[in-house]
Every structure is written in C-alpha cells, then in structure tokens.
C-alpha cells in the first residue's frame, strides 16, 4: 500500500513549494475572470456553459503563462482542445476543472469513475489513455483538480477547492488526493525534518502493486455480487 505521506514526500522532493504557491494564487483568478467575462457578455442566456468553457481555457492559459516552470502546450487526442503540461523533476503536472459534485473517488467506486473519466477524456486524453507513454517516460503524473462550484451557488468567482491527485497508471482511480492547503502545510511541517524521499522506481512499483491488489479485490467483489 502506498501511503499518502510517501507520495507527498515524493512530490515535495520534486516540486518547489513556490510552484504550488503560484498555482494557489493563479487558479482562483481564472474563476474570477471567467465569472466577470460571462457577466459582461451574456444577458439573456444561462451562463453555465460559457463559464465552464472559459474556466477550462483560462486555467490552461494561466498554466501556460507560468514560464518559470517551462510549460508545454499539447493538443488533446482526439484533437480539438489543448492542455498544458508541466514537467517538474520526475513529475508531470496537468490541470483539469471538474464539474460540481464530481469528486475524485478511490478505486472502490471505479464504475462511477468510468463515466467521469469518459466525460473528461475529451480534454484530458493523455493522462487517461496515454498510460504506456507515462510508464516509459518514467514519470509520475500529478493532476491539479479544480472543483467548480454548483451552478446554483451564488458566488461563482472562487473554486470550491483545489486538489492535488495522483491517478493510477491505468487511469482508473487515484492513489492520493489532498487539498492544496494540506500539501502546502506539509511543506512547512517538513521543512526542518526533511526525510529522504522514496525513489521513483520503488514508488512506481509500489503503486503498481497497489493497483493490482485493488483490481483483484474489485474483481472478487464483482464475482460475489
């Protein structure tokens, strides 16, 4: 079993705290801009649709503007959209805006996740389907998940939460998810101790094993059911 701490340790070793600080300031601004633009543009029609598009585009735009971290703009597969990929140490980071109430679930809820993955696949093809790619590149993928508030919610200018998640290599679940605050807190907590972080290869193998075990448990439950 891979613990949350292990993955967080690994992230801390690869990514500078300032990166998350920047993101924490940037992402809410994309929501503010999207809300304001939609308010200015639309008078007669409901704003949700355009706001959703704008949020996605602006989050990618903001990430692409983080020049200090060398962003790469990639086309999705199937084509039609773009997303931004950041390579930080041995990690790849992408970001996605998740519709309200679609939470990241553990492997137990894989069936529900399947539909979620499908809904995301059009814009986040690579991190879900491009699994072989990820493994050969020896990188661990981290996903910044921005939770948008419910459309009925009065304040649309702030995301409900910004999460950090590490998906399975086969894209069917998540090893770890935590809020940004939690992650930043772990940076300050571990400033003094600085434990030796786990090696990439070891962590990856551990993660793979955990995935297989999860799969087996899942299969057993299915046959029982």
């Amino acid at each position: 079993m891979v613990t949350k701490e292990e993955i967080q340790d690994f992230i801390r070793a690869q990514v500078d705290r300032e990166f998350f600080d920047e993101l924490g300031v940037l992402i809410p601004q994309t929501f503010q801009k999207a809300a304001k633009e939609v308010e200015d543009l639309l008078i007669h029609t409901p704003p949700e649709d355009l706001r959703g598009h704008l949020r996605h585009s602006l989050v990618q735009e903001a990430l692409a503007g983080m020049k200090r971290w060398n962003p790469i703009i990639k086309a999705t597969d199937p084509k039609g959209h773009n997303y931004v990929l950041l390579e930080l140490g041995k990690m790849r980071v992408t970001a996605v805006v998740l519709p309200w109430q679609k939470e990241i679930r553990t492997a137990k809820h894989r069936n529900e996740l399947k539909t979620l993955n499908e809904s995301l696949s059009s814009i986040q093809m690579d991190w879900i389907d491009g699994l072989k790619h990820t493994v050969t590149e020896q990188l661990i993928h981290a996903l910044v998940v921005v939770h948008a508030p419910s459309p009925r919610f009065a304040d649309q200018s702030e995301p409900v939460a910004i999460m950090m998640a590490v998906p399975y290599f086969n894209g069917n679940g998540f090893h770890m998810d935590c809020t940004f605050e939690e992650l930043l807190q772990s940076y300050s907590d571990n400033q003094a101790t600085d434990p030796k972080p786990i090696e990439l290869v070891k962590l990856r193998d551990k993660m793979r094993r955990a995935e297989i075990v999860e799969d087996q448990i899942d299969d057993e439950q299915k046959t029982k059911g």
């Binding site: 600080d21 924490g24 300031v25 903001a62 503007g65 020049k67």
Partner: protein
C-alpha cells in the same frame, strides 16, 4: 551687562548638538564649561564668550559666521511631510526637519550666484485634504507625467525627474532606521525641497520614497500644519496612492499584467523598478485583483520570505541627486568662489555639508587649484637659430 559674542544663534547650537547626537553634559565637557551654560546658550538666555565660541566652532567644525548669521524666517509656516514609520521618534523627525532646513539654506545661498531650474510642478489648490479623491490623485499623477513629457513608460530615474522639474533633492543618512523621507514647500523661494533618508533603504525603495514625497508636494501644497497633524494617516495614504499612480500609470501598467502572481510581478520588477509589494498594492488599487487574491498574494510573499527583502533589491543603484552638487562644482570651476570660500559661506560641518550637497567625501578639503602663471619660452628669431647652430662640415672624399 551681557557679555559674549553678539548675534550668537542659540537655535543653531541646539540643531548642531542634536545632529551630532551628543548630550548637553558631553558638549559641556568638550567645550570646558558647565552643562548649565550649554542649556542657557541653547535657550538664548546667555551667549558664549569669545573663547568658548571659538571652541564650539572647532568642536562642530562649522564656520564662525554660520553660528552668527540669522536664520531666514518666512511669514508662512509650511508643514514638513514625513514618510516614516509610526514608531519613529520625535527626535528623528526633528533631525530630518533640521537637515531639510539646512538644505534650503544651502540652496538659498547658492541661488545668489546661480539660476536654478524654474519650478514646474503641477499642484492641487485644495487646502482641505479630506476632499481629495482617488480619481483626483490619479489625474494629478498623469498631469505631472504630461507636464514633464514622460509619457506612460516606466521612469528611468525619479530623482532626476524631480530635479528637472525644479525640486531640490538630497539623500543623506540620519542614523534613524525608521525614517524614509521628508519634504517641504519653502515659502521663501517658492520651491519644493525633498530629503531622502539613505540609512536602510535600497535603490528601489528610495525611488518610491522620492515619488511619495512628490505626492505631498503635488497634492498637499496648501494643506496647513494643523491639518497635517490631525490627518496624518490620510495624507500618507494619499501620497502613497500618488506615488504608485506616478510610477505605474494605469493605462500602461495594466496592459502588462495579465495574471498577477509573484513570479509574473517579479519579472516586471527590472522594467518598472518598483517592488513586488508596490505592484500588488497597485493591482489592488486598480481593482484587477479582489480582496481574497490580494490576501493570497501577501501570504505567498511572506511565505517566500520577501518581507525582509525581495529578490533583486540590491540590483538597483541609488539615484543620486545632482542639482546642488552641479551648482557647487560650477561655482568652483568658473572661479566665482573657491572651495574654501564656499565652505566658509555655507558654514555647515564638513561631512554634513558634503552629504547634503551630494558631493564626494573630501570635496571641500581638496586644495584649491593654485594660480599657475602662464610662462612660455621665448621664441628665437630665424636668424639667431641660423647662427647659433653649429654647421656640419662635410669632408672631401679622399682620392685614391
């Protein structure tokens, strides 16, 4: 009967003592008198005897006439605007005020022989600071830029800009860390004066200090002393707003800020030559970012440890005032006054004088160029040359 040196300026003695940071007792010991005497001299109850007076001049390194000449008093009492932290002591303010008065004194004396740049500073006629709105401050800032032909680009050198507009500036150390600057409209020559304190500041901060003082000069020309005392915080915030509007005009600055984060703002620092903190503040003033984002930016800033000092702070040179220095040098070079005459005229203690004039240390102690009388060798006539030179005798080739 009162004895002693007539016309002794008690006020100047006190100013000197405070500047040197010595107590009455210590001074008494240096001069060889009782501390009670010093107190009486300072209060004008008594004047020192000739030998004590001499001793005072020696201790402080001032010229005799400086301690004797009457200070110029104007009818109108204009307030001195301080940029300082709340905890700055009254002593620090008094010191800064005295320095600025000395600068005015120097400038006044130099103007007897020099024509300074005409004052061209747009200013508000408003005497009630409570009615000055943010829009008005923004308007005045852009009016200044327009009057000085600055466009909307970043300002390369703020101090020079001020001097070109006829404002007399100086940068000096005070020995107080909590003081940043002081400014005043001098009624006598209708000219604004700015003193920037160089104790802790870096180049970037000094620029902002200068712009802040300009804010007081432009906005608070007609604000009375009473108003200044009762509305200190308001006046400071108005000068701040002016400084950021002057350094970062809305129209051009906004275009360059797409996503205000610490990294993007830091990237703009070398171009605009303002601190990230000032830029965050400006973004908030211009409503590009809301309250929550501002808080996030401040938090991230302190998490990076930038409260103590931002990156690149040390990369910017101090902007050095040049007007007074150039004036002094001009007088010396054109032989209107020699260095020693100037020193005698301006009278102040040497280190203070040199720093107020922004001159290099030891400028006044350099020897005046001695009068070299032109001497030339007398030219000889062609005839003299012809006869005096020994002719070369050519030998006949010997026959073989």
């Amino acid at each position: 009967m009162r004895t002693g040196v007539a016309g002794f300026q008690s006020e100047r003695l006190k100013q000197l003592r405070l500047t040197f940071g010595i107590t009455q007792t210590a001074l008494a010991e240096m001069v060889g008198r009782a501390s009670g005497n010093i107190s009486k001299w300072e209060n004008g109850v008594q004047v020192p005897e000739a030998d004590a007076f001499q001793r005072l001049c020696e201790v402080f390194g001032v010229s005799e006439n400086w301690l004797l000449e009457e200070q110029i008093v104007t009818n109108e009492d204009t307030p001195f605007f301080f940029r300082s932290q709340v905890s700055a002591t009254a002593n620090a303010r008094e010191l800064a005020e005295v320095r600025l008065e000395w600068l005015q004194d120097i400038s006044y004396k130099l103007q007897e022989s020099l024509e300074f740049v005409a004052v061209n500073v747009p200013h508000l006629e408003e005497s009630n600071c409570l009615v000055i709105s943010d829009e008005e401050i923004e308007r005045m800032a852009s009016e200044c830029r327009q009057a000085w032909g600055l466009g909307t680009a970043p300002i390369p050198n703020v101090v020079q800009t001020l001097e070109n507009a006829g404002i007399v500036c100086t940068r000096t150390t005070l020995g107080h860390l909590k003081m940043d600057g002081v400014s005043n409209w001098h009624e006598l020559d209708q000219r604004p004066y700015v003193l920037l304190v160089a104790d802790k500041a870096n180049g970037i901060r000094n620029r902002f200090d200068a712009a802040h003082e300009l804010g007081h000069i432009v906005l608070h020309r007609h604000v009375s002393k009473e108003q200044y005392e009762s509305n200190y915080d308001l006046l400071e915030s108005q000068a701040h707003r002016f400084a950021s509007a002057f350094l970062m005009p809305a129209e051009s600055f906004l275009r360059e800020i797409r996503w205000p984060t610490l990294d993007t703002l830091l990237a703009l620092k070398p171009r605009w030559k303002v601190s990230v903190a000032a830029m965050v503040r400006r973004c908030k003033d211009l409503e590009i970012i809301n309250e929550t984002t501002t808080t996030r930016l401040w938090k991230a800033r302190s998490a990076r440890g930038w409260v103590k000092g931002e990156p690149m702070d040390a990369d910017f040179d101090f902007e050095r005032p040049q007007l007074i220095a150039r004036g002094v040098k001009m007088l010396v070079e054109h032989k209107v006054l020699s260095r020693s005459q100037l020193r005698q005229l301006l009278g102040l203690p040497l280190p203070t004088l040199e720093s107020l004039c922004s001159l290099d240390k030891g400028y006044f102690t350099l020897p005046d160029q001695s009068q070299v009388i032109d001497m030339q060798l007398r030219k000889r006539t062609a005839r003299d040359t012809f006869f005096s030179e020994a002719a070369e005798v050519l030998g006949f080739p010997s026959k073989k």
